[in-house]
Point group: C2
Chain length 212, copies 2
């Protein structure tokens, strides 16, 4: 049976993005620092269609997170294209013609739009009746494989609060942002279990299971 899960890099003070997020700077001030460890990784670069990169203790963690994903859920802000109805808006996501998802992606938005088929197995489906509907459709599409909640913050928190997340991997970085968007704000009571922790260069990966 597939799992519903996410992975995310956070600062040591609990932020998944810095302050003053905008269309031009969706990670907010300083937010890029949370992802330095991944940009250099061969495993991540390969998934983005790029050559080169390093292999280290983060490699199996990133490979595991990328494997066995049958469908993806994301919010409108993460997909991009600005606010408002799609109309003639031609936005096709941040990821070029061959997005790194290689699976159906369910985008939670207020505005309907026809499915958008990209190269490499990614099709964006636009869901207008909420994150739980997107999750249900993603589970159906994933069959026995995993559903990955890609973000952003709103969708992650909604799914956590709804008890829909079964497992998550935090990439805890040695960064203090001081302000921004917190991952666990208002998610309510969740009983967690630590599955494993991995010491890697410039980051600690901790996997948790939601047990109640």
């Amino acid at each position: 049976m597939g799992k519903t899960r996410f992975q995310i890099a956070i600062s040591l003070d609990g932020y998944m993005a810095g302050p003053r997020q905008s269309e031009e700077n969706p990670l907010g001030v300083g937010g890029m620092r949370l992802h330095q460890w991944v940009f250099a990784l061969e495993a991540w670069r390969r998934n983005q269609g790029m050559a080169g990169g390093v292999v280290n203790a983060s490699t199996p963690v990133v490979e595991e997170a990328q494997a066995n994903v049958g469908a993806v859920v994301m919010g409108r802000n993460m997909f991009g294209g600005g606010p408002g109805p799609w109309g003639q808006n031609p936005w096709r996501g941040w990821w070029g013609d061959t997005p790194p998802f290689h699976a159906p992606v369910f985008v939670v938005t207020h505005y309907p739009r026809e499915p958008l088929e990209m190269a490499g197995g990614t099709t964006f489906h636009f869901v207008t009746d909420g994150a739980d509907s997107a999750l249900r459709q993603a589970k159906r599409a994933a069959g026995g494989t995993d559903v990955l909640i890609a973000g952003g913050a709103d969708v992650l928190r909604q799914c956590l609060a709804a008890g829909a997340v079964e497992e998550f991997d935090l990439h805890i970085t040695p960064v203090l942002l001081g302000a921004g968007e917190r991952l666990f704000e208002g998610v309510g009571e969740l009983e967690l279990e630590q599955v494993r922790a991995v010491d890697a260069p410039g980051v600690t990966h901790i996997k948790y299971r939601v047990v109640g």
Copy 2:
């Protein structure tokens, strides 16, 4: 040369104590859950003068944190005894006749009091001119060994904000408290480096060095 350092258990959402802290419940609602992993440890129990307990991956972390401590700094709330002048207040701390510090302890308080010599090498000194004065006195007392900042939250944050902390160990627990007292609130900009992470039962220990 000795280091100025601290160690502390925190929740996954960044709290070092739960909400509604009081004289009767200094850890706040749910705060005791942050310390479950340590109570069972032989290394911790031995330091408190208790027999029994388990040995696991946390053992070397706790032994290292307890070793080479030449002096301790703590706040009045952590020492206890309620607010106000000492006067005839006979409070001698939470730790019985033989406190587990075995070193001079500098207590930051608004109210003067004569030093209090306990069994086992602990003497409480009461410092009325602030945390930085307590740190200076502790460094002098420690000679070439380490100064441990024991807490609570106020003193830790003051020392972090003043740039006085050189190293710290976070014990990250699989607990969401949702509210309470945050460790990193208002400590300003600190450049950190991850020294090492340890995967242990029910907790991940991460050591950081302050590099700027």
